[in-house]
Amino acid sequence: MKPPPFDYYDPTVLADALQVLAEHGRDVKILAGGQSLLQLLNYRLIRPHALLDINRVAELHLLEQDAEGLKVGATIRQSELEKFPGLAEINPLLAEALPWIGHFQTRNRGTVCGSLAHADPAAELPAVALTLEAKLTLERNGGQRVVPSRKFFKEALTTVIEPDEALTRVAFPSWNHGDGWALEQVARRPHDFALVGVVAMLTPADGACARARITVFGTGYPPARSEAAESFLNGKTWSAALLREVVARVRTETRARSDAQATSEYRRCVAGTLAGRALVRAAQRAGLTRENRHG
């Protein structure tokens, strides 16, 4: 299981990197952390003509928090973000989600943007980006565009990134203090890929749920917001009956595929369960409930 041959580019400035993409486009794969890419290469499931190693591009090593939010450049490792001072206050959902990704050895190499660009349906970061309504910056030779997360993921392992574009950074909007959050996932083995998972966020106002966000991932499709469940919840006062209805709506509107690990039916049913669990924790954190357990 050795990688096939490829040309190798490791420019030090972004313009050169974008030039490589402009010239070779479809035949190039960008190497950032390599934790998914090297797997695919070792299995020879892909055969890119060239790798574009962006790790030496200094401009991409960007990690800063300002009034607009948290900006994470393309070469920031998952572990770097995990250790970013004050992350638990800056963005508690990211702080909760990051330790779920792979293992600490893979987070030492794997990048935040790489996980988003790879768009594995079972990955946590795409679901978190979708929940946080992150903005993704795509750059090409001579231009850039900013894509909202809801328009970024097209299919499993497919995003809107064009062959001549690179995802250069992601911006997570500023955290609204008072919001509740939770990530729940189920795996056959602790700390493993999710069979299915849910990210929830609740914005409270006057003791009610002003705005709910529920994202289901690990379905075989790209992560998806449960919009019917969200809009049902929006503006309502928290109750057990309300939660039961939300769980049912998540089950109804979740699309899921069957594979060797789980059936579509299992994923839809458990997505509802996990949504319930995530919402209870999020509601507790948002100060909406004191209840501890729901089915």
């Binding site: 299981m1 990688p3 096939p4 490829f6 190798y8 090297l38």
Partner: protein
């Protein structure tokens, strides 16, 4: 090809290299810098064996390119020790039995080193989480977790290490293997470096069943760096099918050629082999071979294969029957009629893959008419015999060495196609050739295990006494019969287990399918058998409204009934006789450890918390120490060093420690003076091998005999020297003295020198042959039976079907323990494999016969976060069937686990679902729970 010059620091040393840009960091370390302590276990980032530190941070070196390490600092396992002084962590691994085969160990050490650099007083749970990205197949993680916890604590004042003389039988001493393995100095087959070594890769059938129309190898032969390509046409002159191991009258023996001749019979069967200057180029060339197939209908499900002649694995066998056998003890039909309660069930057992952390590998060198082979073989002597036959070489020209082996568990005991092809290529090319199975190949190229379907009938008296048991079952043999009827036959005589079954009828049908052959894997037919009898007893208890433990108590064979004659006939036509044991005592102690009596209150409490917990118990008796013989040669050198030579190869069991302990005891020398050299066909003429929990029993007794014979010979020589009778002598720590005149003494080394002819001034040696050395073969066809009870408390997360082990206990009796710590390591690992094949592992196939797993992403092995600490105790009922009184310990841990866990799941659900299949997949369990009306 693109290459770069890179500079980096490795273990503090400046290094530079010109590397291909596609070279991984792991291969840079192993092949360019010869730092072979970094191991490749999966090459897709899941096993963690290749973990190194990059600028102090743990990373997977298989998922990092060498060019990405340019200008950075790498630390490997070779950089942990200070000279020969182990680091705190390494020393803790040795003390806590944190390693067995040692293959995964460097990765764990690097992971834990990185973790401990930041962790402050970590909890056990934190340690388990930190280690959860590394896989170990041997230890069940128990020793590893304890070692990391120990290393994390404040340094304690170390006890001075045990005096070496305390290394006799029964001493829980450190393993002699560990120091080397902990420093990354193990030499596994893939670490063998020979001048001009070239690398092979294998093209495998993409179809489960297909006629090979054409294999166009022209482009591959021309590819850069390629030295040879072989297809069947290239070996037709010498090719012959493998010989049948363990022939049997009931068997329709079918064995493969080393390469597919006309029809491929499973996806993964080898079609061609390429040799190139390195593995990268060999894999490039594989992609250039054009294979044209004519796909044929594949037999995938064994039951439909029996009925469907279209799906024919072998043309001449329309019903796909590979063998059929059975026996009856007592009168089953009559006993069923007389039974109070009769239960009929259909129980199925899924297919698994052994998955040692080191894949199979072979390195062959042919020089001056002699073939030398390093091989991941559990039985080098058996391999040598088959290899010599396959290659038309005289046996004496073939030398097979089993170096360090990274776990075996049974699948490495077979003969595989590469073992003919790689030596053949070495002979034809005139240069050494190596082949290392990759992880993807391991799922189809290495033989599988376990798959069976049982139709069982159990007859019980009103009080739960077993009246009769009938079991007709199917064994999915896969495409060939590499080891004949062995596995299903073991099942057939193991189903009654530790219970009295007065009337027993068993019939097995072995069915060919288009899947890789089935072969022994830890327990070899016994875990299936335990699953059957234990499930049936649970069902019986439910029906009779008995406590599941009570029905077991009432049927266990009692201590006074030993030796217990089962009247069953084993494969070698001898009766199955259990030697000794106290089955009740194991059961009762396991119940105490798990808290069986008070569990109902505990269960009620957790139920009030809306949690579903359950308890399960399973008993087992397992045949160990399979005959017919094993040998040992013991030799004392003039410097007093004692060498033990045995044919049995080690895959992590610590034989170099335990066999030395036996020798120290029976010869009368210090443990530290004994070195064990095993697994080399040049060192002893005959051997059977390492499997069926047989080494302690067969090789252990052989060492005892040979050591005793050397001692006798030494006493005879000393008696001549001192002019006394041998019975006036005694020996301690390698010094023989006259009992009543201790000043008259001589060392064994001096006697060896004397017997070698090196001392001239002493008395005649009579007709004693030269040298202080003896070889003995221990023969025994009366195997001892180990036994025990496993008890487990689990929690089912009802909405998701996820099962979590909360606590578990095992009380085990393997007779006299040569080294209790090593026994415990075997049990921990066996239990972990049992848990794994109950809750995680299954190798499923689609309707076309394609495997649904080819990676550790799709085939899950347990991690440290999943296996809690096992409460383990021993009973020691010596076996009267062998001089040492030992019973094998290798398989017992695996045998009872599935039955107990599944019983516990049913218990947690209050009997609302019935589980008839293993493994238990959360998706299936959740569906059963949802379908149940009472949940």
């Amino acid at each position: 090809m693109d290459s770069r010059r890179i500079q980096l620091t490795v273990n503090g040393q400046e290094k530079q290299a010109d590397v291909y840009t596609r070279l991984t960091l792991a291969d840079l370390l192993r092949d360019e810098f010869d730092l072979t302590g970094t191991h490749l276990g999966c090459e897709h980032g899941f096993c963690g064996a290749c973990t190194v530190l990059l600028d102090g941070e743990a990373v997977r070196s298989c998922l990092t390119l060498a060019v990405q390490a340019n200008g950075r600092a790498v630390t490997t396992v070779e950089g942990l020790a200070d000279g020969n002084e182990l680091s705190r962590l390494q020393a803790a691994f040795q003390r806590q039995n944190g390693l067995q085969c040692g293959f995964c160990t460097p990765g764990f050490l690097m992971t834990a080193t990185a973790f401990l650099a930041h962790a402050v007083n970590p909890t056990e749970q934190e340690v388990r989480k930190a280690l959860s990205g590394n896989l170990c197949r041997c230890t069940g993680y128990q020793g590893i977790v304890q070692a990391v916890l120990e290393a994390a604590r404040e340094p304690l004042k170390r006890e001075p290490s045990q005096p070496a003389c305390e290394g006799n039988i029964g001493a829980a001493i450190d393993r002699s293997e560990d120091n080397r393995l902990l420093q990354g100095r193990g030499v596994y087959t893939s670490d063998i470096r020979l001048p001009r070594l070239v690398h092979a890769a294998v093209l495998r059938s993409a179809h489960a069943r297909a006629r090979i129309v054409r294999l166009d190898t022209a482009a591959a032969r021309r590819a850069p760096g390629v030295l040879a390509v072989l297809t069947f046409a290239d070996i037709a002159d010498i090719a012959r099918p493998f010989p049948q191991v363990q022939p049997h009258p009931a068997l329709n023996s079918r064995l493969p050629y080393p390469l597919v001749r006309d029809v491929a019979r499973y996806a993964g069967e080898p079609l061609a082999i390429v040799v190139a200057e390195n593995r990268y180029r060999a894999e490039d060339a594989l992609e250039l071979i054009k294979a044209e197939y004519e796909p044929l209908p594949a037999a995938v499900d064994p039951e439909s294969a029996l009925r469907n002649a279209e799906q024919r694995v072998h043309d001449d066998l329309p019903d796909n029957v590979a063998g059929r056998f059975g026996q009856e003890v007592g009168h089953v039909e009559q006993a069923l009629k007389e039974s109070h309660t009769v239960i009929k069930e259909r129980l199925t057992i899924g297919r698994v893959s052994g998955q040692a952390m080191e894949t199979r590998a072979i390195t062959a060198s042919y020089e001056a008419g002699k073939l030398t082979v390093w091989l991941t073989s559990q039985s080098p002597h058996m391999t040598r015999r088959v290899m010599a036959g396959q290659l038309n070489l005289p046996l004496e020209d073939v030398h097979v060495i089993a170096p360090d082996i990274g776990g075996g568990f049974g699948p490495k005991n077979r003969y595989y196609p590469e073992y003919t092809l790689v030596p053949l290529l070495a002979m034809r090319l005139g240069r050494p050739v190596t082949w290392v199975e990759d992880r993807r190949e391991s799922f189809t190229a290495t033989y599988h295990a376990r798959e069976q379907v049982h139709e069982v009938t159990l007859g019980l008296a009103e009080d739960g006494t077993i009246m009769a048991l009938r079991d007709h079952y199917i064994y999915d043999q896969g495409a060939y019969t590499p080891i004949g009827v062995v596995v299903p036959h073991v099942t057939s005589v193991s189903i009654p287990g530790p219970y009295r079954v007065p009337a027993y009828e068993v019939e097995c049908t072995m069915v060919f399918t288009n899947k890789p052959p089935g072969a022994p894997y830890r327990g070899a037919g016994k875990p299936q058998a335990a699953f059957i009898i234990e499930r049936m007893l649970d069902f019986g208890a439910q029906k009779l409204n008995l406590d599941p433990v009570e029905i077991r108590r009432r049927n266990l064979i009692k201590p006074e009934e030993f030796p217990y004659h089962t009247k069953m006939i084993d494969m070698d036509e001898t009766e199955v006789i259990y030697d000794s044991g106290n089955y009740q005592a194991c059961l009762e102690r396991a119940l105490e450890l798990i808290g069986y009596k008070d569990f109902p209150q505990e269960q009620a409490r957790t139920r009030r918390e809306r949690r579903r917990t359950g308890i399960g118990v399973a008993c087992y008796a397992t045949k160990t120490g399979r005959g017919p013989f094993e040998g040992a040669r013991v030799r004392v050198e003039p410097d007093g060093q004692v060498f033990v030579y045995s044919g049995v190869a080690s895959q992590g069991q610590g034989h170099q420690t335990t066999l030395a302990q036996v020798c120290a005891e029976y010869l009368g020398v210090r443990f530290s003076d004994v070195s064990v050299k095993n697994g080399d066909t040049a060192e002893i003429e005959k051997s059977i091998g390492t499997y069926a929990a047989r080494v302690a029993v067969m090789a252990g007794n052989a060492v005892a005999m040979a050591a005793g014979a050397v001692r006798e010979k030494a006493f005879q020589a000393a008696a001549d020297i001192f002019a006394v009778s041998p019975d006036m002598l005694e020996i301690a720590e390698g010094v023989i003295c006259v009992s009543r005149a201790p000043e008259q003494n001589i060392t064994l080394g001096q006697i060896a020198q004397h017997l070698n002819g090196g001392i001239s001034q002493t008395a005649s040696t009579g007709d004693l042959p030269n040298g202080l050395e003896e070889t003995r073969y221990y023969q025994n066809n009366q195997p001892p039976y180990a036994n025990g009870t496993y008890a487990v408390v689990i929690e089912v997360d009802q909405p998701t079907g996820i099962v979590k082990i909360l606590r578990h206990a095992l009380v085990h009796d393997c007779g006299v323990m040569i080294n209790p710590r090593i026994v415990e390591g075997q049990i921990y690992g066996g239990v972990a494999q049992g848990i794994s094949e109950t809750l995680l592992e299954e190798l499923c196939y689609d309707e076309a016969g394609q495997p649904l797993a080819d990676s550790y992403k799709s085939y899950l092995l347990p991690n440290a976060a999943m296996i809690p600490t096992l409460m383990l105790e021993h009973l020691e009922t010596p076996s009267p069937f062998n001089p040492l009184g030992v019973k094998g310990a290798g398989e017992g841990g695996t045998v009872p686990v599935a039955a107990a866990i599944i019983s516990a799941i049913e218990n947690a659900l209050g009997g609302a679902v019935r589980l008839r299949r293993r493994p238990v997949h959360p998706v299936d369990l959740q569906a059963l729970m949802r379908a149940s009306e009472s949940l």
